[in-house]
Amino acid sequence: MKTFIVANRVLKQLKGDKRLLILSIVAPLIIIYFLKLLFDAFPPNVPITNFTIPIGALVVHFLSFLLCAILLVQERTKGTLERMLIGGYKRSSIIGGYTLGYLGLATIQAAVVLIESVWLFDLDYSYNVLILLFFVIWLLAVVSVMLGIFISTFARHEGHVFPFIPLLILPSIFLSGLLINTDELPQWAAFVGKCLPLHYAVNIIHEIIKPVFLISETYFDFAMLGAYVFLLWLCASLSLKETE
């Protein structure tokens, strides 16, 4: 019950901060448009459809992580997180509430990125594929929110979140299979790439955008994303300290 109270408050707060709300929805739209401009300049033999949705997923992954981590660090610096804990909200309610609240925004981000990508790149996917693509991006956003909550525990102020961007997001771009297959990387780099949640989301996307795909080929990757959600939830719960 208290989880929903926290989630409701997060949503009200996001609704109240119109600038943040608009930026977090408009920013991915602009990035996808820039991607369109870039891909239009590529030679026609480049299979851009292999990159379009995975890069859209990366944008949602990055923004959800950043937004959640920064807003949670703000809660710490302003003392509201401590006040919630002393005021009677339990850790599980706080983490559950944040996840639900930010997921509301992440769901909108996932939907707008997918709709814009399909429209701009004139992608011809069936409804089943579109629903699956939305679900993968959304699941990756859940991972990002959990990651944001977990990383926020290591930051004393908003500035501390930024060093995590090159540490977490850039390896995702280079090593997760987004640009080249992880099997073509040196063994150690492929291992690092396979430790990143984006790798499994990219695997699923690459499978389901094939003209004929086998859903059973995605089970392992879906399970890995699910495992990330659980593991990061556990880490976030354990790292949110109730006492100093």
């Binding site: 009200k12 109240g16 003392g79 339990k90 100093e244």
Partner: protein, 284 residues
């Protein structure tokens, strides 16, 4: 006398830093208990230990008969905590903030209770305004409402009057007195020495150690009063004890003579007395 708070030999270490050194004190029910000291004295650490946000390194704590760490969930229903910063959601209205913190507790008629606390701090007409548009003093009042919403038996207020104007400060202390009169125990920290006068009992804390515990009256009496006498047109000054007896004795010695045309007594301010106590301890 019943004690709302009992602290015995409380010590808190952060690595090699000793934030609280063997603190022992008792707070009677229904009193305003002041915790006075300069910045960094350990006031916030002590309050956080009492609300269960800081785990003591050693010693015993008892708040309303409960241990703040082991019984924290039961205890948190009976205590209210107002942190040093406003700790409010700026994008929510005053009422939404109070309702949010109120929903963490089991409160009947939460809406009605919210209206009552807003009325108590005289913010009814601004209830639906965003906190972002409030002054510092108004935010403090909303923060007090959040701490008060579940009718706690003890209120822990960390520097509640810091950075607010003198008029609002007085208004705040009047509110605290009203609460104490209704049976609530208030444990208030402040670095403003003159605020000791509003408390029933005061503990002066410095470098994590208690250096004095007394009533404000006794603290004032430990100071000096400068007596200025104009006798036959000649002005002389004497320093006497700041007690009513001290003044009476001095006046008796002077006798009532027609040549004495003016007598004025200037007692030490409580701020000076507390600062002197702190200075003495710094020297030792």
């Amino acid at each position: 006398m019943n004690h709302a708070i009992e602290i015995k030999d409380l010590t808190k270490k952060y690595g090699q830093i000793l934030a609280l050194k063997s603190i022992t004190l008792n707070v009677p029910v229904g009193t305003i208990y002041g915790l006075i000291g300069p910045n960094g004295a350990g006031k916030t650490t002590l309050i956080k230990a009492l609300v269960g946000a800081v785990k003591p390194s050693s010693g015993h704590l008892n708040v309303l008969g409960m241990n703040p760490i082991n019984d924290k969930w039961a205890l948190r229903q009976k205590i209210g905590y107002m942190p040093q910063s406003a700790a409010l959601y700026e994008d929510l209205s005053a009422k939404q903030n109070i309702l949010f913190f109120g929903k963490a507790q089991k409160i009947e008629n939460l809406n009605q209770k919210t209206d009552e606390v807003l009325q108590f701090v005289e913010l009814t007409d601004r209830a639906n305004d965003l906190v972002r548009n409030f002054s510092g003093g108004m935010k403090k009042r909303v923060s007090l409402c959040c701490a008060l919403i579940h009718s706690p038996e003890i209120l822990f207020l960390d520097e509640p009057t810091a950075a607010i104007d003198p008029h609002l400060k007085l208004q705040s202390w009047n509110l605290f007195r009203k609460l104490a009169n209704s049976g609530v125990t208030l444990f208030i920290s402040t670095h403003l020495m003159d605020e000791a006068m509003h408390c029933d009992k005061v503990t002066i804390l410095m470098n994590g150690e208690i250096i004095a515990v007394d009533t404000p009256q006794k603290i004032i009496e430990s100071g000096k009063t400068v007596l200025t006498i104009k006798d036959n047109g000649v002005i002389t000054t004497r320093t006497i004890a700041s007690t009513p007896e001290g003044l009476a004795n001095e006046l008796l010695k002077l006798g009532l003579r027609a040549s004495i045309t003016e007598i004025s007594a200037t007692p030490d301010t409580i701020e000076n007395i507390v600062l002197n106590i702190i200075k003495k301890n710094q020297i030792h």
